[in-house]
Symmetry: C2
């Protein structure tokens, strides 16, 4: 058995954050595919045994079971000494961006993609509402990335790994990233990191291609 | 001048998280009212000088200017030694709930209240969508609070201070909290803490009453 197991599915950018971190840290890990299409995450069994929030990712490491990608990223960074802050100021800066990601960036982007791509709702008042929120967040990031290589620190950190969670899904995002050159340069920079892989090359898929 | 200044408005539950923490820690602080109704937070001046996210709260402490309530809570907890984790496990547990709060709890609740209360949109597809999200999150918390006093640790922590941000606005929430007895007992427990104050007694209002 691998040292780390990750409850995940390749379609989840939140799971990808944890999977990418495990991979970039060179850890011995394996996937446990969660049957999202058939509602596994919503069952009381899953909520009771795996994650009360009914979500992925969940990282299992020995006796420990951790949910919330931001917690998993912090845990792995502290365990391995990689992609973490060099000092207190960087620690707050990383946390600031991980919180922004959870509050305003990933959150709206993931919810919108889910509706359009998997629920196939088409454009609705709700997807437009979410689209406006995503646009606001992208503009903040685009401006922020004008004069730096990585989001929170001089080199790659868990803040980048959190923020980039949904940015490699291309057309699936249903959000044109083409008009954000700084964001594109930044995600190319992350993708150039030794060991980087696309979500679909890191985890098993739950939905048919 | 007070030792700490907080850019805030009493109507913001996110600002309340920081204000309540400052107050409960017995710190010397004062408010700087942000003119939200006239769009101050959206101006380029505010984004450039105060907070690139265009949000409150922002805490000023000497040369330091901190945004994101979760960062401010961590900073003040470390500074004062109050309401923080007793060990690594508690640290992760507190972070887990602060992330959940940002991702699924405060986020949807605040956005819904803003639309209904301040934009006066009435019920729309969007407020209903947000209402469903809030309900899901409230049910998770209601269940979680069945057998404990505080959200993440045996005594009050910054996770509670984060999560309770919007829960004292009563009718303004446009969300009936009455059907959640565990949540009600929990927020009464927090409100019984020495020094606790309601948001409208802690910060100046930006909207007319």
């Amino acid at each position: 058995m691998s040292e780390y197991q990750l409850h995940c599915l390749a379609e989840s950018g939140n799971a990808y954050k944890a999977a990418l971190m495990l991979e970039l840290c060179g850890l011995d890990w394996s996937s446990i595919l969660v049957d999202f299409p058939n509602g596994e995450m919503r069952t009381s069994k899953y909520r009771q045994d795996i994650n009360q929030f009914g979500e992925v990712p969940v990282l299992v490491h020995k006796d420990l079971q951790l949910s919330q990608s931001g917690v998993i990223l912090n845990y792995l960074s502290e365990k391995t000494g990689q992609f973490g802050p060099a000092n207190k100021q960087e620690e707050y800066e990383i946390l600031r961006w991980i919180l922004f990601d959870n509050h305003k960036f990933t959150s709206y982007m993931a919810t919108r993609r889910f509706a359009l791509r998997f629920m196939k709702t088409g454009d609705t008042e709700i997807t437009n509402f979410l689209g406006d929120k995503v646009k606001n967040a992208l503009e903040i990031v685009e401006k922020h990335m004008a004069d730096r290589d990585f989001i929170a620190t001089p080199t790659l950190s868990i803040a980048d790994i959190s923020m980039c969670g949904y940015l490699y899904y291309g057309d699936e995002l249903e959000q044109n990233l083409g008009s954000y050159p700084n964001i594109n340069a930044w995600i190319d920079r992350i993708a150039a990191t030794d060991g980087w892989k696309h979500p679909y090359d890191l985890m098993p898929r739950a939905f048919p291609d």
